[in-house]
């Protein structure tokens, strides 16, 4: 039997497994990216708060402690394999939370993504022109109001390509969660391969499916980004001049 015949054979025999895996993978990637973005927004915004000369000693100390904790969070989740994180968190918190692998999976990929997103948001915040903040402060807006009404929306727009990238990475990295019994696409493909002892052909199918998923989602998101940015182009259009 030729390579492609075998591929077809395997696909026909196992497509329910693959389809199942695709759903799990996309669920993990999607919820992980969205929740992770949310975590990243909060952490990134908090990390942008620095002790100021005007603060009292206590406030300064609290800010420093918060900054340190957030750094540890980011450093830990970026610095260790997600597989290891999954094992520790899932089993470590199971007695207290009694969560299912899928719930744990969503939480773990979110918290992991959050660590990356925090950095993405932080640099998005940094790329917002300092004048935007001064403008807000000059009309009496508080730090928090400035952050949420002015800085974060712009940071988010700047960070969008990096967010897309994170989504694509999550589609692939969700496979790490098979270590806590979450049956994602890669895992399901693997079990097909293991059952038939045909790895090359099955890997070929997996690769194709991943390619479709990542290609389609990144195109869709890029399209959304374009639409989002379209009416706010930076050139001088004499809007309303006709009015």
């Amino acid at each position: 039997m030729g390579f492609f015949e075998t591929v077809k054979e395997i696909f026909l025999q196992y497509y329910p497994l693959f389809w199942d895996g695709v759903q799990v993978t996309m669920l993990l990637a999607l919820s992980g990216t969205i929740l992770g973005l949310f975590i990243g927004l909060v952490v990134g915004a908090l990390k942008a708060i620095k002790p100021e000369p005007r603060d009292s000693g206590l406030v300064k100390a609290l800010k420093r402690i918060m900054g340190f904790i957030l750094s540890v969070y980011i450093e830990f989740f970026r610095g260790t394999p997600m597989m290891v994180q999954a094992v520790f968190l899932f089993y470590g918190l199971k007695p207290y939370l009694g969560w299912s692998p899928m719930v744990a999976g969503v939480c773990i990929i979110s918290v992991n993504t959050g660590a990356y997103m925090a950095e993405i948001i932080r640099s998005g915040i940094q790329s917002v022109d300092r004048g935007q903040i001064e403008g807000a402060r000059s009309i009496g807006m508080t730090n928090v109001q400035t952050m949420f009404s002015i800085v974060l929306p712009q940071a988010l727009r700047n960070a969008f390509p990096a967010v897309i990238n994170e989504f694509v990475i999550n589609i692939k990295d969700s496979s790490m969660l098979s270590v806590i019994m979450v049956a994602d696409l890669f895992f399901q493909g693997n079990s097909a391969a293991g059952s038939l002892f045909k790895y090359t052909e099955t890997f070929f199918i997996i690769a194709l499916i991943y390619l479709c998923l990542t290609f389609i989602t990144s195109r869709v998101l890029m399209y959304i980004e374009k639409r989002m940015n379209a009416p706010k182009k930076n050139n001088i259009v004499k809007a309303g001049e006709a009015a």
């Binding site: 089993y91 098979s178 019994m181 097909a192 391969a193 293991g194 038939l196 002892f197 790895y199």
Partner: protein, 255 residues
Amino acid sequence: GGSDSSSEEKTTLVVGMECNYAPFNWTVTEESDTTMPIENASGYADGYDVQIAKMIAEELGMDLQIKKIAWDGLQPALESGEIDMIIAGMTADEEREQGADFTTPYYESEMVMIVRADDALANATTLEDFSGKNVVGQISTTYDEVIDQIPGVNHVTPLKSYPEMINALQQNVVDGITAELPVATGAVEANPDLAIVHFDEGHGFEADTSVSIALPEGSRDGDLFKKIQEALDNIDEQTRQDLMLEVTQRQPASV
């Protein structure tokens, strides 16, 4: 290495295994009489599979090389000729015959369950005792498939390796692990909080618990396959049992 040279006389036999599936194969850091150096990484391989491989190589008058390969990489390595055969505690079945040619079994044992020692299940004797319990097996193996023979079982998503499954068992995420006896013995010796459940005659799994050597697909009629099968046939049952006893006592977890 590789089996690509059909014209020239081959002098080395390249064997692939995970080196992390005690007591069949494992890794140690110090050399001894029973170990073989790992070809592609540091450390030495030991275990039942290594001993079998040594015997076969000796019988064939060939030099033995052990390569340490992740489970997912074993079959592609075999297919591409990177290794001549897989001796990795692997069970042959009809489906797997599609991707490789298997010898007759080189070890047969009993299918058992690993449970927590302090659990009531430690006294179980029949499959029915596991009704409604969470049972896990290793991904794409017979050990996963047979779970469905337990009436009313909660068949949990399989895991990749025994350490992972044992962890899940210890953390109360599952209540039982299907395993063959040698593996279960090793696991229980390393983890005294676990116990083995032997089923009563006729109340256990109907399953093939034998392990076989895999050679590349289509090699069944070849010279090498025949020689290996022959060498295997020359190792009698008593030798096999003695060998297994010996390695289970030697495996690192038990010291």
